[in-house]
Amino acid sequence: MKVRVKLFAMLRERAGTGDDLQDVPDGTTVKELWDKLRREHAGLSGVELRLLYAVNSEYVGLEHRLADGDEVAFIPPVSGG
């Protein structure tokens, strides 16, 4: 299945892209997708930030299982205001 990855701020800069289409096995979790991204993007492998995760704009946990067509956002510590 295909999922769209959104990366922001420091993660976007480290990966060199804010938007990534990924082909993953059915039932892939957010954590498994993150691990895959870290293997594919050297800049993300050293990231030790505490992230939040959102699927289709809703915050989810790391074990959330993805569905085909999901938009998965990796959200570094927010700092609006």
């Binding site: 959104k6 922001f8 701020a9 420091m10 976007r12 800069e13 030790e48 930030l49 505490r50 992230l51 939040l52 995760y53 959102a54 704009s57 915050y59 989810v60 946990g61 790391l62 956002a73 959200i75 570094p76 510590p77 927010v78 700092s79 609006g80 205001g81």
Partner: protein
């Protein structure tokens, strides 16, 4: 009214939106870009947002405020892109029948926005730049609870 803008924030627009004959108070908060942070002299700030989700989370915190305090209307506008020093990066206006509810809901909105609305700020200073919240040296692990970093 909950939105992002890449232009200067027009506070009078927020005031017009929250204005209501039944409101006896309007509380506002304006966050402005400061020229220094932790000893660094800042030239300007860049804001990045997750469009769609950012407005959705701002809308949610307005709805939450409305269940806790008696408010009439709320408006939140957050700027994105490069913001020169001294300009508004965020503006919040809340109208309510009475001032206590307006003040409290306004305070809640800015406090919650800073915790969970997907917006990021990068400080640009002489010789470098820093994503606030992602500073090198801070070591975080995976979030223990969804939607909370505290």
């Amino acid at each position: 009214m909950y939105r992002l803008t890449d232009k200067s924030i027009d506070v009078s627009e927020l005031l017009a939106f929250v204005g209501d004959p039944g409101a006896g108070a309007v509380a506002t908060f304006i966050g402005t870009t400061r020229d220094n942070n932790e000893g660094r002299s800042i030239i300007s700030l860049d804001y990045e947002a997750y469009p769609g989700m950012a407005e959705q989370e701002m809308t949610r915190l307005g709805e939450e405020a409305a269940t806790t305090w008696r408010i009439t209307r709320m408006a939140i506008v957050h700027r994105t892109g490069n913001v020169p020093i001294g300009e508004a990066s965020v503006a919040i206006a809340v109208s309510a029948p009475h001032r206590d509810d307006a003040f409290k809901a306004c305070r809640y909105a800015i406090d919650e926005l800073k915790k969970r609305v997907p917006i990021w700020k990068k400080e640009i200073y002489e010789g470098g730049e820093i994503w606030i919240g992602s500073q090198t040296g801070e070591r975080f692990t995976e979030a223990p609870a969804v939607g909370s970093r505290d």
